[in-house]
């Protein structure tokens, strides 16, 4: 429970002990025990949007939309239940299957990296619910702008998971057609895709379509100017865009309190649209909240920010060594909230899902794993001339010249070898 009780502001204060402590003391005196929601002081100082004091931020911890508890119990939520009221047991099993297969795919990719088949892998372990819940909330005509860890969302969009591996193997920078599944390429420069999503959504609105757009990014990305400008453009143009932040508590080695002083979902309000924090390990809650946000986008109500509170169970990437910067206890405490175990507990206790389902899924996992291995191992290196391909859509004289020189140079070896 380390993270649940570690609240951003308190931790941020820690980093700057003297000033922080003074601040905490003073604010606490001014508004003791007031929660973020209870804004009574606004009456005294009408024009002052009060800062969250540590005490307030701690209270905000309860502001987490959860529909299924870690031990698999369904809890009522008057605001969001309606968005999953029609869900069938089959659909729940579908979500379960999505999460299991995504995790399996992810594990396989990690293994392939260890075997040298991939140069790098960014695992989504622990974030399956956030991705599957939100991904399954999208409609076919919606458009998704991912960052680089959205393997589960890609799965929901119907992108063949093996296509995701090309860039990590080093054979391309993005191996799928974004328009085939309305799933844009992975974006490495943190935060840039939030603006693309917003622009795309502006275009959707111009077209008079009722599709929506969803931009994925991390807690770290929330500090980038591009993400913040996207919030504002989305708000000003009332664009049908949903900002979906997977707050997995870490940006490589930096904990959330290095990126923000108060919980992220609160940032939306000051730009003029709602923000919600959802239990990112509760697939049903993620589905419900994302449906709500996409619905209102479709209906012309503009953007929403969803902060899916989750945890990066693994390393940042296969190149990372988290033992340098975080305690294993933290990870262990999150194991109890595992998104897959949680839904399984629910399925086993409240539906008539039988062992056969799980057994079949195990088999399906195995064969997915095998297919991924086989495809990756057979993935050819790109042709050398690919260096010069698609630099421009309409061609470029210098590229032509360099391509020709390169070809001649390569040919000179062939000649040499031939001789």
């Amino acid at each position: 429970m380390t993270v649940d009780s570690a609240d951003s502001t308190a931790a941020a204060q820690k980093a700057n002990p003297a000033r922080g402590r003074a601040a905490a003391k003073k604010s606490a005196k001014k508004s003791p025990g007031k929660t973020a929601a209870a804004k009574a002081p606004a009456k005294k100082a009408p024009a002052k949007a009060a800062a969250k004091t540590p005490a307030k931020a701690a209270a905000a911890q309860s502001d987490l939309v959860q529909l299924v508890t870690p031990d698999g119990k369904r809890v009522k939520n008057p605001e969001y239940d309606r968005y999953v009221a029609d869900i069938t047991d089959d659909e729940l099993r579908g979500l379960y299957r999505d999460m299991v297969l995504t995790r399996r795919f992810d594990a396989e990719a990690t293994a392939l990296q260890r075997q040298g088949e991939l140069g790098l892998w960014a695992s989504l372990l622990g974030q399956e619910a956030a991705q599957i819940g939100s991904g399954r909330a999208t409609r076919e005509d919606d458009y998704v702008f991912p960052t680089y860890r959205e393997h589960g969302v890609a799965w929901c969009r119907g992108v063949d998971p093996t296509n995701l591996l090309g860039m990590f193997r080093g054979v391309n920078h993005g191996g799928w057609d974004p328009n085939s599944n309305n799933f844009h390429l992975y974006t490495i420069v943190i935060g840039s895709q939030a603006l693309h999503a917003t622009g795309y959504a502006m275009g959707v609105a111009k077209d008079g379509a009722d599709s929506a757009v969803i931009a994925y990014f991390g807690d770290g990305a929330s500090s980038q100017g591009d993400v913040l400008e996207a919030f504002n453009f989305g708000a000003v143009y009332n664009a049908p865009v949903v900002f979906f932040c997977q707050n997995n508590q870490w940006a490589i080695s930096e904990p959330t309190e290095r990126q923000m002083r108060v919980p992220l979902y609160q940032r939306a309000q000051g730009f003029g649209f709602p923000g919600v924090r959802v239990d990112g390990n509760d697939v049903l809650a993620c589905l419900a909240v994302t449906r709500w946000a996409l619905d209102r986008a479709r209906q012309g109500e503009g953007p929403a920010l969803i902060e899916a509170f989750t945890y990066r169970m693994g390393a940042h990437t296969t190149s990372d060594d988290p033992s340098k910067y975080r305690s294993d206890d933290e990870r262990v405490s999150w194991e109890a909230k595992d998104p897959i175990l949680r839904l399984r507990a629910y399925l086993e206790s409240q539906t008539d899902t039988d062992e056969g389902f799980f057994a079949e899924l195990d088999a399906e996992s195995e064969s997915l794993g095998k297919r991924v291995r086989d495809v990756v191992r057979a993935m050819p290196d790109p042709d050398l001339m690919a260096i010069f391909e698609n630099v421009y859509a309409d061609g470029h004289a210098l590229v032509d010249e360099e391509r020709a020189q390169f070809a001649a140079y390569q040919a000179s070896f062939a000649d040499g070898e031939g001789a």
């Binding site: 391309n172 920078h173 993005g174 191996g175 799928w176 057609d177 974004p178 328009n179 844009h184 390429l185 974006t187 420069v189 840039s192 939030a194 603006l195 693309h196 999503a197 917003t198 622009g199 795309y200 959504a201 502006m202 275009g203 959707v204 111009k206 077209d207 100017g225 591009d226 400008e229 996207a230 504002n232 453009f233 000003v236 391909e389 698609n390 630099v391 421009y392 859509a393 309409d394 470029h396 004289a397 210098l398 590229v399």
Partner: protein
């Protein structure tokens, strides 16, 4: 009427109007491009005629402008973005260099981002800091972008048409101090290739190569040199990426001498590339090293010094003389 005499600013306005008329996917966006018509009135009247949905006043955030333009392009639009002044393009630099320039290649050709970025550039208008810079190197060095700059009204009209029609991102540098220079525009002509240089004046003794605002200076220098009996060829490069090396080579094979002129700083300016490349191609033809006239390795100076900073007639003629002295 197909042929009109127009100032460059108005030729660009007409070109935007034509593009907005011809293709419902064309958008114009930027700071103050709407009611105000842009600080140079280049977009004057467009919002009135095409509506706020197609001529879009944006928030004051260049990264946001270019970033959303990329998104709009991915949705099938063809945004023509205005950056208010050269010095204000840098907040958008990341989006231009890491996203706009690379999206097509990243997607193995599966998506296109036909965004045009119009930038009024260069000095000579007596402005305050950041309003007079020539940052073309910083875009031309980056693959995936095309970089062009017209020097006259006809090219302004046509090159912008071509830039908007191009499926590649184009950085369109407008010579702001020439905005009010008039020239004939034939809206029914068959334009030259967007990326080919043109011979602005023929000559046999030396080649002056320039683009944008410096073409006029070079033409004046050539006229002045003629009085001294020197025959100068002036090439209007028009395109900085790609650069028409063939045209320069052809001219230099004839004249055997080359001077490149631009407002941008000489150090790593486009003249450096031209000098390196042409020297390689014409090593045995050149009678003199390629000389460069341009800005100094110093911030663009306050207005009262800009006449001395900018390459003017005298400095060009001085370089011509130095070249001919070899």
């Amino acid at each position: 009427m197909a042929v009109q005499k127009l100032p460059i600013a108005k030729a660009i306005n007409e070109s935007l109007r034509t593009a907005l008329d011809n293709d419902p996917k064309v958008l114009v966006m930027g700071e103050d491009v709407g009611k105000l018509g842009g600080v140079f009135r280049v977009t004057d009247g467009l919002q009135k005629d095409f509506g706020e949905d197609r001529v879009i006043d944006t928030p004051l955030a260049e990264s946001g402008i270019v970033g959303t333009a990329i998104g709009l392009a991915l949705r099938g639009y063809r945004p023509v973005v205005e950056i208010q002044f050269d010095g204000f393009v840098f907040p958008a630099y990341d989006q231009i260099v890491t996203q706009l320039a690379k999206m097509h290649a990243r997607a193995l050709g599966k998506v296109k981002t036909p965004v045009v970025i119009r930038i009024p550039y260069g000095g000579g208008i007596g402005a305050v800091e950041h309003h007079s810079e020539s940052p073309e190197t910083l875009f031309a060095h980056v693959s995936g972008l095309k970089v062009v700059s017209p020097s006259n009204a006809s090219d302004a009209y046509w090159m912008l048409q071509q830039a908007i029609q191009s499926d590649d991102p184009v950085i369109f540098f407008e010579p702001k101090r020439r905005y009010w220079d008039k020239g004939e525009v034939d809206t029914e002509a068959v334009p030259a290739d967007l990326h080919k240089a043109t011979v602005a004046r023929e000559g046999g003794d030396l080649t002056l190569a320039a683009y944008g605002p410096m073409v006029k200076v070079c033409l004046e220098a050539a006229a002045a040199a003629e009085e001294e009996g020197k025959s100068i060829e002036v090439l209007d490069l028009r395109s900085i990426s790609p650069m028409d090396f063939d045209a320069v080579q052809k001219s230099v094979e004839k004249t055997r001498r080359l001077v490149v002129v631009h407002e941008a700083p000489v150090f790593l300016g486009s003249g450096a590339e031209l000098a390196a490349r042409i020297t390689e191609r014409c090593f045995y033809h050149l009678e003199a090293p390629v000389l460069r006239v341009g800005g100094y390795h110093a911030p663009y100076p306050p207005a009262r010094l800009e006449e001395e900073y900018l390459p003017g007639l005298d400095r060009v003629l001085d370089a011509v003389d130095r070249s001919l002295a070899y």
